[in-house]
Every structure is written in structure tokens, then in C-alpha cells.
Symmetry: C2
Subunit: 230 residues, 2 copies
DNA sequence: CGGTTCTTGATTGTATACAATAGTTCGTCG
DNA sequence: CGACGAACTATTGTATACAATCAAGAACCG
């Protein structure tokens, strides 16, 4: 059970970042990408050795991810990756629509102009699709929505959406393993950015509603037909 | 620095509850009620001794509360109680309205009938007002909204609202120290419960919007005139 | 004196060690 | 042969101990 610490990896991060900070990011990413499967037990000793740390910062990271809803922890029983079903997808997208609608309205009131970075990401996304790097694609997608949230200038909204995107990204990763990514989403993004820049909150929300409904339904049909686990 | 552990307090809780679980609740309550002031440093050794535990479960509890937005933690610097200003009140109520509106619509779709427990709480609230137990009053208020959230049958929405209520309760506690509690809120609650029971989501949301706007404005004016810290 | 480096004390970060719990296996008895 | 229960094992929960970091003040130099 003695761990051979990965000395190199530790010092590649900026100095004042603690093991906890790095662990939260790494563990989250591992769960999002499906390296740890839904329902799988997360045994502390194993994880600690895998990440080259002791159980102390690891436990703190698990508590954090519990707060984000990525893992479930029961006393004296340990942590598992939270399993998600079709109802979770529906529920998540409901909450997401409510929060992001608010974000768009506030961003539109301030005439936030995100057209330039959105176009840039659109180009990046094309390249990511060609090279087949799904992970990068999802991060670009999230970045767009995160930037919209930031434009709302509401710290509590940003925090709430940040937590929810962990879950959304899990769903997306699972979907992209079996489904196909339609570049149309980036046209949607640009239309939304346009509406916000012109201060038209109603239009932006309408576009977002269609955008999310399409995405959700595509995911749900894939889930039903291929029966992929989340 | 040696702690004389409060042996009695430990076993008064249900057996399989860990020190972490108890700490989260106790620490949250202490922050909500203002026992630890906004901006105040939360030194781990001091807290550990005060609560009769070691720093390990304490640190985990702090991570949890960080996730709820009650404390801010910076690496190697420690935790402080997150200070809230007038803008936070506006932002919080914005997010709250978005989330609770969704909850009411879903609850109304299901014709959830919460009129009986709401009336019961109304009576309890009268007694709480007479006996001047503000803390109990706030908990009753939260319970109403929590039950509405639960009636939405959306686990992710419930979780999101649960986290937010920590913050809302902080604002309410601070407000009630200087402001007055108007029993009219319970008439609002009953009207909302009625609308939901009749399946009228639009009406329920309209009532909620007025309810929250009134509450928010009352808090804001109190803050501005008396300049109370949150 | 004003600014800069060094030292020190307080505090956080993390590893190790041990205690407590729950799940499991195996034996016993009906 | 199955139900019950007692050891055993794997794993979590928590305390202690020590290392790393930061903030503040002292010493130093211009």
C-alpha cells in the first residue's frame, strides 16, 4: 500500500496550489470522462495511491465533488460515482434552462458583446471536430456558456451554473461516445451572442430554449435506443 | 491546545452519523445566526477545540460550506466567513426567483397539495412570532419553500435550492436583527399553496414574484438605512 | 529615516497511525 | 439444508505529528 509518489507531476503546477486543488480538478475530469463508471466504488486507498497523495486531501476533494453532485458518500460506507438516468437528464436541463435564461437576460440588459470570442471558439470547434477530440469540443461548449454566465455579473448565478456544468459535461461525454456532434450548435451560439449583444433578452432566451431542447432530446433518444449508461 | 472532548454531545446523535455530519450542521447554523461574523477568520485549531473534534473532520466541513458559498478558503491562508453586500442580496433573490419559479411550475403540473402542512406551519409561525423566537420562524419559512421544492420532484433543483437557502437564511437572520417580521408572508404562502394545488403555475409564480420582491426590498431598505453588516 | 531582507511565530497542508464500522465468511445449531 | 451468529477482513473515520507556507516584525543597509 506504500505509494511511490509522482514527484514530477506535483511540481508542474503553480506553487501555491495545494494537492486538494489539483485533486478536485483531476478527479472531476476522471469522472466526467467516464474513467470511473457510474455506481463504481471510489475506494480511498486506491484513489490516494493512483493520484500519489494521502487520503487527507483526497477526502476533502471527495467532499467537494459530493457538493457538486458527482459522487455520493454514505457514512462508513464510502463514495460512489453518482449514477444518472434519463430523468436526471430531463431534470438537469430544466434547471439549466432556468439558470441560463436568467444569465442571458442579465447579460442582454448590459449589452454584453461576446460575438468575437464566440466566433473564435466556433473556429476552434471546427478544428476539434475534424481532429476528433471530443473532450476539447465539450470544453469549448462549456466555455461559451460559462462566459455567458460571467456576463450576467451575478456571482451566485455563476457559482450555481458552474456546479451544474459538472453534471452537464458528464451527460455530454456519455452522449458523444455513441452519438454525433452536430456543428449546428455553434450557429446557435453565435445567434445567441448576437441577440445578447443587441440587448434582446427575449430572443436570446427563445434561441436558448430551442438549443437546449434539441440537445436534450438528441441525448434522450440516444439513451433510449443505445441504452448507454451514464 | 488539548481538547477535553464533550463525550455526551457525541452520543446524543444517531450512531452512524459522523463528526463531519454534525459539524456541517453546527458550523452552518453558527454562521447563519451570526455567531461568526462576516469576514471573520475561522482558525482551524480554535474551531476544532470549540467543537471538540480534530481538524480532519473540521476541514472537510469547511470544504462543504465553501461549496455552499458560506465561507471562502484561500490556500495556506485559511477560511473566512464570506461577507455579503447589498448586491449579493439582489443577486441571491434573482437566482432564488428563477429556481423557485421552476419548482412551482413543476409542482403545479403535478397538482401538489401542500395546503394542509402550510396552514399548520402558519399556526406555528404565529406562536413563534409571539414568543419572539426568530430562529424558529426562519426555519418554518425555509421549510415551506423546501417542501415546495421537494414537490417539484426534481432532485437537481432541490439540491440547488437547498444550497441557496443557506445564503438566504443568512440574509434573513441579519435582517430580523434590525427589521420586523410581517405575518403577511404567511398569507402569501397559503395563496401560493392554493394556486399550486389548483394547478395554476402562472398564478403561483406571479404570487411568488411579488412575495420575493417585497421581501427583498424590505431587506434592502433596512440595509441602507441601518447599514447592518451581513 | 525609508525601504529591503531575514527571522520568527502562527497557521495551514499533509502524511502516518490507530480506532471504529460494516460487510463477509465460516461455523454452528435447529 | 437453511437461518442465525461469531470471528475476520476490508475500509472508512479521526487523532496526532510534522512539514510547508505566510504575515509580521526585527535587523540591516542605503
Amino acid at each position: 500500500m506504500k505509494a511511490v509518489y509522482n514527484l514530477m507531476a506535483i511540481e508542474l503546477r503553480r506553487p501555491s496550489e495545494t494537492r486538494y486543488d489539483a485533486l478536485v480538478d483531476d478527479l472531476r475530469e476522471a469522472i466526467l470522462t467516464g474513467r470511473y463508471r457510474p455506481g463504481e466504488r471510489l475506494v480511498q486507498d486506491e484513489l490516494a495511491e493512483a493520484f500519489g497523495v494521502s487520503r487527507i486531501p483526497l477526502r476533502e476533494a471527495l467532499r467537494r465533488l459530493e457538493g457538486e453532485g458527482l459522487v455520493l458518500i454514505s457514512p462508513n460506507r464510502g463514495a460512489i460515482v453518482r449514477p444518472l438516468g434519463p430523468k436526471d437528464v430531463v431534470d438537469l436541463y430544466d434547471v439549466r434552462l432556468a439558470l441560463e435564461s436568467l444569465a442571458l437576460r442579465r447579460a442582454a440588459e448590459r449589452y454584453a458583446d461576446l460575438r468575437e470570442p464566440t466566433a473564435r471558439r466556433h473556429a476552434d470547434a471546427r478544428r476539434a471536430i475534424e481532429s476528433g477530440s471530443l473532450g476539447a469540443l465539450i470544453h469549448l461548449d462549456r466555455d461559451f456558456h460559462a462566459e455567458m454566465a460571467a456576463a450576467s455579473d451575478n456571482a451566485h448565478l455563476i457559482a450555481a451554473l458552474g456546479g451544474h456544468w459538472s453534471q452537464i459535461m458528464r451527460v455530454m461525454h456519455a452522449f458523444l461516445k455513441v452519438g454525433t456532434y452536430t456543428p449546428a450548435v455553434w450557429a446557435d451560439h453565435e445567434a445567441i451572442a448576437d441577440a445578447v449583444a443587441h440587448g434582446d433578452g427575449d430572443l436570446a432566451v427563445g434561441l436558448l430554449t430551442a438549443h437546449l431542447t434539441n440537445a436534450r432530446d438528441a441525448i434522450l433518444t440516444q439513451l433510449r435506443t443505445k441504452g448507454e449508461k451514464l
